[in-house]
Amino acid sequence: MLPSLGSLLCLWALRLLAPTAGTGAASRGPDVASYRERVRAMFYHAYEHYLESAFPYDELRPLTCDGQDTWGSFSLTLIDALDTLLILGNVSEFQRVVNVLQEGVDFDIDVNASVFETNIRVVGGLLSAHLLSKKAGIEVEVGWPCSGPLLRMAEEAARKLLPAFQTPTGMPYGTVNLLHGVNPGETPVTCTAGIGTFIVEFATLSHLTGDPVFEDVARKALKALWKNRSDIGLVGNHIDVITAKWVAQDAGIGAGVDSYFEYLVKGAILLQDKELMSMFLEYNKAIKNYTKFDDWYLWVQMYKGTVSMPVFQSLEAYWPGLQSLIGDVDNAMRTFLNYYTVWKQFGGLPEFYNIPQGYTVDKREGYPLRPELIESAMYLYRATRDPMLLELGRDAVESIEKISKVDCGFATIKDLRDHRLDNRMESFFLAETVKYLYLLFDPDNFIHNDGSVFDVVITPYGECVLNAGGYVFNTEAHPIDPAALHCCRKRKEEQWEVEDLMREFYSLKKNKKFTLKRAPDHSEGESAKDPEDAPSEKGGEKRNAKKNSHSLLSCPSQSFNSKLAVLGQVFLDNT
């Protein structure tokens, strides 16, 4: 009698508990480990079919199971996917591909290539692979990270782009012939992003190789854009690089401009550069003033600030991630939640989404499996650990698998209204979309290192701390280790200074007084620059900067209510 009663009670308790345990769908969030494995399977499905059917072409055509050259003839997908391999932990394949690339890729070809795309995909991809190659177990040269075969390839590719920068304004042409330089009849109209998206790769190259020309041209182009901003502080979409006249005057944060803003912030982080940051903060103010409506960002006329297109573009979805990097997590989350509703409506983000109508825009209904929203989710998850962000990851995996998976890979969605597919798989799918998804579901990945582990490398230039986290992703999701920039061009004076100071630590009698001098402030390679080039051209701005007591290179700490700002809850400012 007793045992049966016990089991009955037990059953009753189970019945009571069972639904409770099964309900936590909202609180538990998606199962991270299983989704991580699904992302991994997605990667290999696409990658293996690329190798099988498309290599050495640039891209896979998933519907016809063949390849095509799109941006040049660099085996682009392979270069782009290289560091994703390592992030997924596949060391052996990484090593194999590095060898393949060293033998197979040639930049002495008569091809008209986009300066922008070649930089972010090829130069960026090779640089990050170079910096990660030791981690991948490749036997590196003694001079690494300041020399190496991949670095030489990256440098070669970047040198091919330099002729484009020889314009009166310093702003580059959009297209360059890799063999002959700029074609005689080349259009001088370049988009803003095509001008301002070099500093991350080019400054890294300059710091690693010691040749300042790359960083110099990138900075010059950035400054030219800054000089040509409108009176209300906005930049347009396209500019004539010869005459510096704006050809398309729509100002916004999306297509044509996006990575310019991104690189101002990332350049500032990578180089600890206040000048770049102050530029961004000025733009940010203008963007908030003129384009932001109800946490959406619209397109406005750059001189008048009147709304020209009330659309949200798929490419704009990087913005919340960028905001989280500089500590504006509240606003980032609010905007992200807006964008997420669009995803929920279609199972992807249409290139253009008309906000007042709540529907796609004609001829812009496609979704080429872009990464931007997932990228923002990854950054925000790092900041908030909000399970809702994992839900976006879950939705992305389900959508992409259900809608775009075909026998030979993953096909671009041509029309989000009916989910018709197109015969293309862009290289950013493997470089970015899959990478960010994986990182979202893998919080312990080495990319998320918070500085608790690091490597020490002995180079002929001295000891060097590497892989201490803080990786800066270029706009094609290629991670750059900021510590590597301090390995190669290490000035001897600084080392000696450190030595001297260390001696002081061990003497009991402190005979010197140490005060911080102003001078070191400008030692970040900007002291040589003409002061007129500085962003604070007017005296008034300079004073403003002084008044602003906090350093530009810092984030605000999060407010109290951020503790509760998860699962879709947002808080208004304390006003």
Binding site: V465, K509, S554
Partner: protein, 919 residues
Amino acid sequence: MARRPELLCGAAIVLGCAFLVALKVTCRVLLPKVQVLKEDEAREEIQRNHSSCRAKDVTMPAKLPVNFFSTRSPVIDLFRGQLDYADHLRQDSEIVLYFFYAPWCGQSIAAREEVEHVAGRLSDQVLFVAVNCWWNQGKCRKQKHFFYFPVIHLYHRSFGPIEYKGPMSAVYIEKFVRRVMTPLLYISSRSKLLDFLSNYEPGVLGYFEFNASPQPPGYLTFFTSALHSLKKDYLGTVRFGVITDKRVAEEISLVRSGSVYLHRHVNTSLIYPNDIMNYTAENICKWALENREMLIRWLRPHGGKSLLLNNELKKGPALLIFIPYNPLAEIHPLLDEITKVALEYHSCNKSQPAEPDLQHFRDTGSPAFDSSVPDAHMKLAETFSITKYPCCNTVVLPQWHSISRTHNVCELCINQTLGVKPNKVHVPQCNFLEIEAALDSFYLQEHTFFQVISNTIECSNFLSFYSPFSYYTACCRTVNRHFLSFVSSEKTIFQTPKAAFSSHGKKDNMQYSVPHIEDRNCFTPDLHASGTNITGLSCRTNKTLNLYLLDSNLFWIYAERLGASRSTHLKEFVTIVDLKEEVHYVLDQNQSLVGSTLENFIKNFSILYSPLKRHLVDDPSVHFDEQRVITEVTTNTFHDTVFLSEKNVLLLYYAQWCGFCASLNHVFIQLARLLPPDNFTVARIDITQNDLPWEFMTDRLPTILFFPHQRKEQSVKFPEDFSVNLPNLLKFILHHSSLSSSEPCTKECLHKETVLQQGHISHLEGEIQKLRSEISALHQAHDQLEAQLSEARREEQRLQQQKHTLEKQHKTLQLHSEQLQATYDQKNQELLEMAEKLQELADASENLLKENTLLRILVASREGKLQSKDEVKKSLQLEQPLAEDNDVSVLTATAPLEEKKIDNIDAIETEHSSRNRTE
């Protein structure tokens, strides 16, 4: 034919532009505008559009829809979106649940299981229909336009759709479906009525006489209004009941059939005003929702962007109670206890009950309910009176303008435990005179409290001037101004002469500048000592709490972020959140959550000098690790690591998400490796995960603070306008740690010196090690170079060899060419000779020609002579043929030459002739 699609394509692009671009733009601007995509991408896309038009445009239509639910599932799956068939099905069943989904949607997939679970339990009473509302060939997609998936619609017969907006979890869905099935509760007896009314959720009751007809007038409207309320109030917090018995109805003074009653616990209950508002379902529902009482509310964030918490918490401090909740459970003992507390807290007019009927009813109907309260009171009274000082009062110090804007408040207690006071052993009430005396002596001592303005409570004892048997304890602390405004509103019963203090205070805040004792009848000591009672506290305190419930099965993450322990399996958590003050307090999780602990928690919050301490959330995942170069500090280890350690501490405030912090990791690692570990700690704290007391908080990240050894309180901040690099950091540390060693050298100092030097030695050794490895690296590089060099040399050698052979070849070639030249010269010579000979021949022939002509002339003249001498002819004929023969042979030999150089000869001839002429 081939051109047509291309044309169409171009036209489409232009159309696309025209749609996007404002009207007044000229065509030239239009084209670049197309490239609003990443420029080159746009360019490429246009190319692609063209080329894809030219080549066959390979696209693929979306895959055909397949079953979303398994075929064995109790849910009918209309995966082709047959909405018409769904409507048809609805006619067969009283209650229908529609589940509109999109097959690609993650949320639909997650909710599928839950719906299936509910369907398994209710399939005999409810029809479950799932409709694919995405497939663009389906009816559903064509008729409905959803912005999100899944969408759940419920129908009660013809009434609907009622959208379910609650959590996508089986129990909640089931509960809601059950509410739709039976929107009204039938109350036939007093005990059922009691049950209904004692519930914490608002209740609406209708009284209908069923004797006259099976459907009394107004009943249907009431029924519909119950369904209607579920549309608005998707959590179903307003319950609807119907009373069928006249006597039961009289209990709540309803006499007329058809009247509707809204029950409220604290405020007066209402009867639906038929005369003012029309008796419609919408109106009843609206009336109930507007007038319902919200003593305690469930918070259920739906997951989308929402200001729910913002709006609720902005109202003031909030008590958040997290409990695991199963909506299907019959009884909720914990919830009942909490609601009892909430009711107590809100019932301000208990002494003069607003609802005598109910009060009476309660007293008689449920004696157990009522008696439990005084019981609790008694118990609490005992525990509190023992621990507390018997006689205390509160003194507000005048606001010295010289000090600061904050006020100093002291709690003054007469303590009789020292010595024996003969006449009074137990003091139930404070003697007014005693307080006065204590106050006097307190004022005389007040200078001792000038320095105590800090956030900590400081207490000091001093002896009474009047009585040797007692002493006074004064505990002073700083309180914010708004507490004082509260203070000032209380009745002051004691005032010292103003003249004594008026000189200190400004005129305008005179009231504050006068120290006074608060009315103790209504104040802290009393409440604390005998404070068993939170009845009506919400009306008596300025710090009114709003009470909220959260289901910890769904929203435990909020609790975790407010500091709930992650390890406990019991998901109960209580916290008070004050958004305005940016603080929150937490009820110790080790205490079990019962009514009394909750009451104490509320009381402790409400009293003026709340003993509650701001809760600091810390990151439990960080473990102290000796091996780490940089010490990771948390809230718990902050004090130990920074203040108690014997070292200089450099503390970095960071957050993982802040880009500017993460890119400095390597600098701090280098610094930590350089600094002597015996004297320096490089530490960091992630302040997103770890709260610190206000005075140690910072508003920017990264922030670097230096706490010098022995002067930990004098921390210094690394100046923000300097770039964070190794030399700057070292200088900063040196600058601020240099003051420490000015005292004369003693033995200890010598010891220190040796320790330091040993450190130095080890540092130098480390340096040497580093240099060695650097050297080895250089060696390696050297070797590598050497190898490269030797290879280069080998290469050079090889090249030289090649050169050598090439030279050889070159020589032979030269020889060859010389030979050739020689033969060429020879041939040339020969040719020249030949030419000369020919010339000679030509000359000879010329001479011969000349001779010939001469001969001819001679012949002619001879012939003339012969003709003249006919007779002589015959005699001469013998000699003539001989000469002629000679001439002809010469002519035939020169003939080919003559033909070859006919021009020459012509020239020669003419020359000859001219020479002849001149001759």
